[in-house]
Symmetry: C2
Subunit: 291 residues, 2 copies
């Protein structure tokens, strides 16, 4: 692809954000703090776009009648559902700027990158990214520039990606505030995320959905229950999409997790204090490594 904008200062770049939800809104707020040249916003809801414009999250709304302004964007960040990115590219490819870099923030990769690149005109490049920077809830109201601070940012290059694009996205992630930027292929990404992201969400939902939950539960909980269920409140539409797109891996992780629970049941039934202590000691060491 053309070296394009990649040596340009971020202050001189125009970004287009597709989907102004929790993640899209957070990119907009972070980009505003970085004083980028211009932020364009696109969303299925005109009301949301209006709200973004009124609160100065974006400088321009990209809508049916003025789609051509998309061609002023050097970078396009897709923050829509995984299944909607290809549709966006198909519908808007003629408005994309030559040399544009398109990236995303979706939690599942598969062969998405190749599918999207196949739709793009010569000179346009799609590179998959996954900022590990969600939070509970959903929607624009939950957006915050701070979600990127100290976060992990996963870059998932495909065979078509240029070194220039990879390096630019690495530097962009660091500029956003990510503390670690790592590269893996799509297969590795989906396998790892099944454990580090999908599984914790399953566990939180399962905890609050246990048959033991009742109206009095709230009077008997402490931090452990609150933390363990914080992400039980997530967007069902988005997450059912994510879970099902990665279902084989998620099932494997749930089965592995159940093996741990079986170790607990065995130790408890056998009144085996040493086995319990060993599991807790192992966990303490590992947990501290996460900092």
């Amino acid at each position: 692809m053309e070296s394009g904008f990649k040596d340009t200062q971020i202050e001189d770049l125009t970004f287009a954000i597709i989907g102004m939800g929790l993640i899209g809104g957070s990119y907009a707020k972070a980009l505003r703090k970085l004083k980028v040249k211009k932020i364009l916003g696109m969303d299925i809801s005109h009301g949301i776009l209006k709200a973004c414009l009124n609160s100065h999250l974006i400088d321009d709304m990209v809508e049916e009648e003025n789609r051509q302004i998309l061609s002023t964007a050097d970078v396009v960040i897709c923050c829509v559902y995984p299944s909607d990115i290809v549709d966006f590219v198909k519908a808007n490819k003629e408005h994309l700027k030559p040399g544009v870099l398109i990236t995303d923030a979706t939690g599942i990769k598969g062969d998405m990158s190749e599918k999207i690149q196949a739709e793009l005109p010569q000179g346009c490049e799609f590179i998959a990214g996954h900022p590990m920077a969600g939070r509970q809830g959903s929607g624009l109201a939950m957006a915050a520039a701070e979600i990127f601070d100290g976060s992990n940012y996963i870059i998932v290059p495909a065979s078509h990606n240029t070194e220039a694009a990879i390096v630019w996205l690495e530097e962009f992630a660091a500029t956003l505030g990510s503390k670690a930027v790592v590269q893996v292929n799509a297969k590795e990404h989906d396998e790892i995320i099944a454990y580090t992201s999908n599984l914790p969400h399953v566990l939180a939902v399962a905890l609050v959905n246990s048959a033991s939950y009742d109206d009095n539960t709230k009077y008997f909980i402490a931090g452990s229950f609150k933390d363990g269920t914080r992400v039980a409140d997530i967007n069902p539409e988005l997450w059912s999409d994510l879970f099902l797109s990665n279902r084989e891996n998620v099932v494997i992780e749930i089965e592995k997790y159940k093996q741990q629970l079986d170790k607990w049941c065995k130790a408890l039934k056998e009144n085996d204090a040493e086995a319990l202590k060993d599991m807790m000691k192992e966990a303490s060491v590992k947990r501290r490594e996460l900092y």
Copy 2:
């Protein structure tokens, strides 16, 4: 029992804290903020007591040679391991003030209350309490007055407890900052806590101990994994004690929990988006009720 101190202002009361760990230290800090008359501290470690004295967490150290000052305490709060409370009472009952109220903070009750009361001289009363106010880690260094703010405080009265003692502990819990003070019997307490406290700790330890964890995990996690494993770093000695004292209930809760995971596996294997959404919607509603 004698009505004793129960109409006395907290500023005029002397407290003795047995065990200056995370919880004992937190009581000391909270009582200091409440400007109580005097705080006595007792601990198996002279060094810890010295540290508490030096940092003005306590006013006096209760040690072998001056045990009699225990008799100046109107209220004794036992913050030692469940199994050690009876031993403390046996070893110190002759130093207890007539009319003294003794309470605890342990996460398991069983028949502890009756056992302790049976050891006490006439006029001394033990009433079981459980502030749902722990936090990760362990030890004096983790102590904080704030752990009680907005917490739940469970009172577990036994047949020997007086109305005056129950009312006093209710008011004391509220004074510490607890937002909800509830009463249940010991059997109910242990059954409920198996779900609301024991289980979340099991789940956190199991998540970080999964076979999928490796040295690179830290680069792929976000808030969901961090929150889901926060309490994986706990005191193995104390918690193996708690888990085993409540093992029948904990096993039941783990089995109930596994039923939820099985529902997830089934929905994922059957590619059943509606089933996933229903579970997530149910969880979102319940999670929001916790606030």
